[in-house]
Symmetry: C2
Subunit: 227 residues, 2 copies
């Protein structure tokens, strides 16, 4: 197996951000779509070559292997999420919002981020379900970093710090969010469509998620009567 | 790809149940453990042969292919879950329990079932995260069947049928349960251990899950003050 640490991911991702029309960036975006819809193992480097219109050798030149390309996509998501928390946190801190309004706005923005980037929840879901897989070990470190950052912000809204259900409440929120935005065929069949495609369903989920998260974090009712 | 419909799964699984020491049964149990810990794609027929101490040809004789072996494991879980709901429902119907007590007992028994069978949530988690994979299409039908059965029972505890959050509340419960019992390394690192191995953590989760599910189903507070 290729060592995942051979690429300088941070430099490579900086370049992708500053040169979004480069070959490296276009390969990364195709890989992101394929991995998130088909799953890491089902995608071949050949599939990525075909989807991006590049040679396999170009893919290897920029991203070495399928494994490191997968890691690059996950690291890109980690960067997006960390930047998102910092920006949103700063914007809210500079506003005149009450704590409850601030939390509500934060949740709203998080849901929009996930709706606009379907690959985030889908890959997170894959990482959680096969995390014992040795190939996934390095990803686990970014997940911890992102989770800690989210926890740090959300913890300010939680009750007393000695409450031992605190991590369980945060994981409940995490699994709820990842699950719903994984948008599985089972969910689509039951809810009557994809939450990425049906605006009405999206609004229902957003409104439900907001009340649910507020309740879970603030230890009030998880479901307010107006749902 | 091998057609998944070539095996008469129901007959094969009846035989596994009546002959738990047969080769077919032992192969199935090894496959269950490997698939649930490493993920479908990372396991080879050779791995299953090694773990069960059988020849590859014996595996093919009993279960045809890795794909049909995976389907057999998922079907076995679907059978276990369907049998569990029927038995528990009947036992509760024949008791003198109040609706709230009945629901609490049902949740308690469900959590015990999942704790005793770690592969159930782990495979469900894999199926949800890669459900668009064509190999997984037939599994989807058992999942729908199991979900419908669980929903049927739980719906009796839910509020008015015209409440459009009903499916969202049930999926919240599903994702919470599958997520926690997938017991990812991320969760283990944050909660301080595996919920399958740490009795204290297990008790905390059970108590949290009970209050959470009661709140979500009965539309009361998802987290009671005694948590």
């Amino acid at each position: 197996m290729t060592k995942l640490s051979e690429i300088d991911f941070e430099t490579a991702l900086d370049r992708v951000e500053s040169e979004p029309h480069s070959s490296a960036a276009s390969i990364l975006r195709c890989a992101e779509t394929l991995f998130s819809t088909k799953g890491f193992k089902a995608v071949t480097t050949r599939d990525i070559a075909k989807a991006s219109g590049k040679n396999i050798s170009t893919i290897h030149f920029h991203w070495q292997s399928k494994q490191s390309l997968y890691e690059a996509v996950c690291r890109m998501h980690a960067r997006q999420l960390l930047a998102f928390v910092s920006q949103t946190e700063a914007a809210i801190a500079n506003s005149t919002l009450e704590p409850t309004q601030a939390l509500e706005q934060w949740i709203d923005k998080t849901l929009d981020l996930l709706i606009e980037n379907p690959a985030i929840a889908k890959l997170a879901s894959q990482n959680i379900s096969v995390q014992n897989n040795p190939e996934m070990v390095t990803l686990f470190e970014h997940d911890i970093q992102v989770l800690a950052r989210f926890q740090g912000y959300l913890s300010t809204f939680l009750g007393p710090t000695d409450d031992h259900t605190k991590p369980l409440r945060l994981f409940t929120l995490l699994y709820f969010t990842i699950g719903m935005f994984t948008d599985s065929s089972l969910q689509q069949a039951t809810l009557g469509g994809s939450i990425y495609e049906q605006p009405e369903l999206q609004q229902q989920l957003k409104s439900f998620a907001k009340s649910f998260a507020m309740g879970l974090l603030q230890k009030e009712s998880a479901l307010t009567p107006n749902l």
